[in-house]
């Protein structure tokens, strides 16, 4: 089997470092704005936690029957860090073994985790926004409150903006780098 190029090998380290930022910065941020909240409300989603104005958002959401957000309800906060650590561990092996095939597999695993994570995030948002308490004081026919996965959405008196935070951007950058390097390694291999 062919060995990795120098840049390919360095990229393994870079990807691992990029992913390490997930323990130091939030992945995602959802900002909410309403007339009564001039400073806005925001919620940060970490690899293993959810922070920000969660209590205030929970207090507001009971009016429309949305369930409360509690850290302990998220199995993801255990699985996600474990998965990412395992992925980073595999990276170390890819680096030591130094074979192109290892790198390709590593990229495929990454893409698989990424797709599953976004699907999981979307599914949670869908349930959170649609599974409403039928006894909620405020019921707007046809209205659901699913926050956007990415981008802007207006829901009743709230405007919501969802976007990656620092950790999320590094995660995306890691993914982009994996795909590009895989592509370049493949091209080199054909020569």
């Amino acid at each position: 089997m062919k060995k990795l190029t120098i840049s390919g090998r360095i990229s393994v380290i870079v990807v691992i470092l990029f992913l390490a930022t997930l323990w130091f910065f939030p992945m995602w941020q959802i900002d909410l704005r309403a007339p009564q909240y001039p400073g806005g409300l925001s919620m940060q989603i970490w690899i293993n936690n959810i922070t920000g104005d969660v209590d205030i958002i929970n207090g507001l959401n009971h009016y429309i029957g949305m369930s409360s957000i509690h850290k302990k309800d998220f199995a993801e906060f255990v699985f996600l860090p474990a998965t990412m650590l395992a992925f980073m561990g595999i990276g170390v092996i890819v680096f030591i073994v130094n074979r192109k095939i290892g790198y390709y597999l590593w990229t495929v695993i990454f893409l698989f985790i990424a797709v599953f994570s976004f699907y999981d995030f979307y599914k949670w948002e869908y349930n959170y926004g649609h599974n409403l308490n039928p006894e909620a004081p405020i019921k707007v026919p046809g209205m659901s409150y699913q926050p956007p996965l990415l981008g802007y959405k207006k829901m009743l008196n709230f405007e919501a903006l969802s976007q990656p935070h620092v950790g999320g951007w590094f995660y995306i950058a890691a993914g982009v780098m994996l795909v590009i390097i895989t592509f370049l390694e493949l091209k080199k291999a054909k020569k």
Partner: protein, 635 residues
């Protein structure tokens, strides 16, 4: 004659316009006079931001009514629900505002209050014994070492029964020095200097070179006890009483004072326990100038001086003889030299009287009629209010020349320049606090508002730019840049640090407990329900204590609590706070209770019922929220 319209010129509107959503440049704290409270305005807009309950009970938020704050208005004469609040002083460090506390006096039943500027709540009230008419108060020294309280209506020391006509023999005035803890702000009556029977009027501390001194104006050195308007206006000169407080402090430490029995209340609001306690103190240390040489001097000052103000450098002090046709300006350096040279003009009850000319820097000639108070700007100018000629007069400290005069509408009392009584005046604005308004606003029956008038003093000429009504009677005010205070405001209380003994930590802990005829309701409030909202098993003659804990943890989300037919007040409970309302039902019936502060879209639903049954009936104690009883509804 200048007309009122002519006085307001040019771009006045743009100078006071603070666009919606924008902040004012200064906080202006204004005494509430006979309202007993302190008001807070924004400058330059003149918008009323808050009324802080201090000496008067306030049913609007439960101050003085709820169990937590009742003790704040306790005195040795029981609860006193009102006072006459005249003067304010912001705490200082190195002679400049530090934005920590605001001190307020009570004139009628002598007391001094301290207001915490992170919560805008009254944190402490100290009663002053051996005094009456606590007028020359609560002025402070440059590092807030002391707050003073001086007697305007001399009274006998202690509580002996003496004829009023024995004024000269038995009546005394006292200058009380209250020490302030640098970190906590806690006040302690350190010592009282006993002075002859006369009326101490106003005061200010020295600055810089005069740091160790405190100056009090006094009138009625004639020692009249009847028809004062004539009998106390006979002498050409009364005095500025100069007290060396550093020396007094040394004498107190050296044991030169006498411990004297005197009861007075000391009320403190404990922020951690959210509860006030009232302690009765039993003695006070009294210093007599006879035993303490070089502690007190008298400086003659024309015609019943009122204001007693010290310039930013601390070198000049101004006595404003309210019946005088001139303003004397004294020099601290000359005063010190006069003491050294013993340039005395006899004594007043053993206290050396300095020769008038020996301490005099000069006189401002023909300033106007009825000079009352003087404040200073940052450019070496002084501004004196003229009650009779109803104007503000600007003059220069250096050569005592009158530079400008501007009319007030009408009869100005105090005036205030932001920082104008500190070492660092901010200048820019001047506010005149007027006693009479007559035709200035839409009439409101015989009782009219009093007012404040804002002048731009940044140029050579003073320019009237705004005129606004005030609450109560505005006497003195203080103003400091908003930046000094606004960023350290408490937005809500951390529920986890709530140390109130009656806190309910979460809805699951809500409870109703009977103990004899005392019923404690541990209630929670969060948008948009109260727990419990149904209570039964309470009888006529019970004392029901509603301990309401606001579980919200967000800014600007107070909940109110009121119950039908309760004869006193309601509660306003801030987020994370607990407050207690006592209710003693006199008749059986259903008593709805509800949240009074529009809190949310379902505020109208935030209510409950208390069932009060006849005494001796056997309705069991029952309470809850969200429990539907199907058995009773069938009946």
């Amino acid at each position: 004659m200048k007309s009122a319209e002519a006085a307001v010129v040019g771009d006045a509107a743009s100078k006071v316009y603070v666009a919606p959503g924008k902040y004012d440049e200064f906080y202006n704290f204004v005494s509430g006079g006979f309202s007993g409270q302190v008001s807070v305005y924004g400058l330059p807009s003149g918008r009323l931001l808050k009324v802080i309950p201090v000496f008067s009970k306030n049913p609007e938020n439960g101050w003085g009514y709820n169990e937590e704050t009742k003790a704040m208005l306790n005195t040795t004469f029981g609860e006193i629900p009102w006072d006459d609040q005249h003067h304010l002083d912001l705490s200082q460090t190195n002679g400049e505002h530090d934005g920590k506390w605001l001190f307020a006096n009570a004139n009628n039943t002598p007391r001094v209050a301290r207001i915490d500027l992170t919560t805008f709540k009254t944190a402490e009230i100290l009663q002053i014994p051996n005094s009456a008419g606590n007028h020359s108060s609560p002025f402070i020294t440059e590092n807030t070492e002391y707050v003073v309280a001086g007697t305007r209506f001399s009274v006998p020391m202690g509580d002996e029964d003496v004829p009023i006509s024995s004024f000269k023999k038995n009546f005394r005035s006292t200058a009380s020095f209250i020490s302030v803890d640098k970190n906590t702000g806690h006040m302690n009556l350190a010592f009282q200097i006993v002075l002859p029977g006369m009326n101490l009027d106003l005061s200010h501390a020295g600055k810089g070179p005069s740091h160790d001194w405190f100056f009090f104006s006094c009138y009625n050195t004639e020692q009249a006890y009847t028809l004062l308007e004539v009998n106390a206006s006979q002498k050409d000169k009364d005095f500025i009483v100069a007290v060396n407080w550093k020396k007094a402090e040394e004498y107190a430490k050296a044991g030169k004072g006498k411990k004297m029995a005197a009861d007075y209340a000391h009320n403190t609001y404990d922020e951690a326990k959210q509860t006030a306690t009232s302690v009765i103190e039993h003695d006070v240390l009294v210093l007599d100038p006879k035993d303490c040489p070089d502690m007190v001097y008298m400086i003659p000052c024309p015609k019943s001086p009122h204001g007693c103000d010290v310039d930013p450098t601390g070198e000049y002090f101004v006595g404003s003889g309210k019946l005088a046709a001139l303003i004397p300006v004294f020099s601290f350096a000359k005063f010190q030299k006069a003491i050294q040279d013993k340039a005395f003009d006899g004594d007043f009850y053993g206290i050396p009287v300095i020769k008038y000319e020996a301490a005099l820097h000069g006189e401002v000639q023909k300033p106007g009629l009825g000079p009352l108070h003087t404040e200073f700007d940052d450019k070496g100018n002084a501004y004196t209010s003229m009650f009779l000629s109803s104007e503000v007069v600007k003059w220069r400290l250096k050569d005592l020349q009158v530079l400008d005069r501007a009319p007030t509408y009408y009869s100005v009392g105090h005036l205030m320049v932001p920082g104008g009584d500190t070492r660092k005046p901010y200048g820019k604005y001047l506010v005149a606090y007027n006693k009479i308004t007559k035709d200035r606003y839409l009439p409101t029956g015989p009782e009219l508002c009093q007012s404040a008038q804002l002048y731009d003093i940044s140029g050579d000429k003073m320019q009237l730019i705004l005129d606004f009504p005030t609450i109560g009677e505005p006497h003195y005010g203080q103003a400091c840049p908003a930046a000094l205070i606004k960023d350290k405001q408490v937005k809500f209380y951390d529920i986890n640090k709530n140390g109130n003994q009656y806190v309910t930590m979460g809805e699951k802990k809500a409870n109703v407990v009977r103990n004899g005829n005392r019923v404690d309701v541990y209630m929670t409030a969060i948008r948009s329900h109260l727990v419990p909202d149904n209570i039964e098993g309470v009888y006529v003659g019970d004392d029901v204590y509603f301990h309401v804990t606001n579980l919200e943890q967000d800014w600007d989300l107070p909940h109110g609590f009121a119950i039908k037919n309760n004869p006193d007040a309601e509660l306003l409970v801030m987020p994370g706070e607990t407050a207690t309302l006592r209710f003693s039902p006199q008749k059986q019936g259903i008593y709805p209770y509800y949240c009074t502060d529009f809190c949310s879209a379902l505020h109208q639903e935030m209510s409950g019922y208390l069932r009060v049954s006849a005494k001796g009936s056997n309705v069991p104690l029952k309470f809850g929220t969200g429990v539907i009883d199907t058995t009773a509804s069938a009946k």
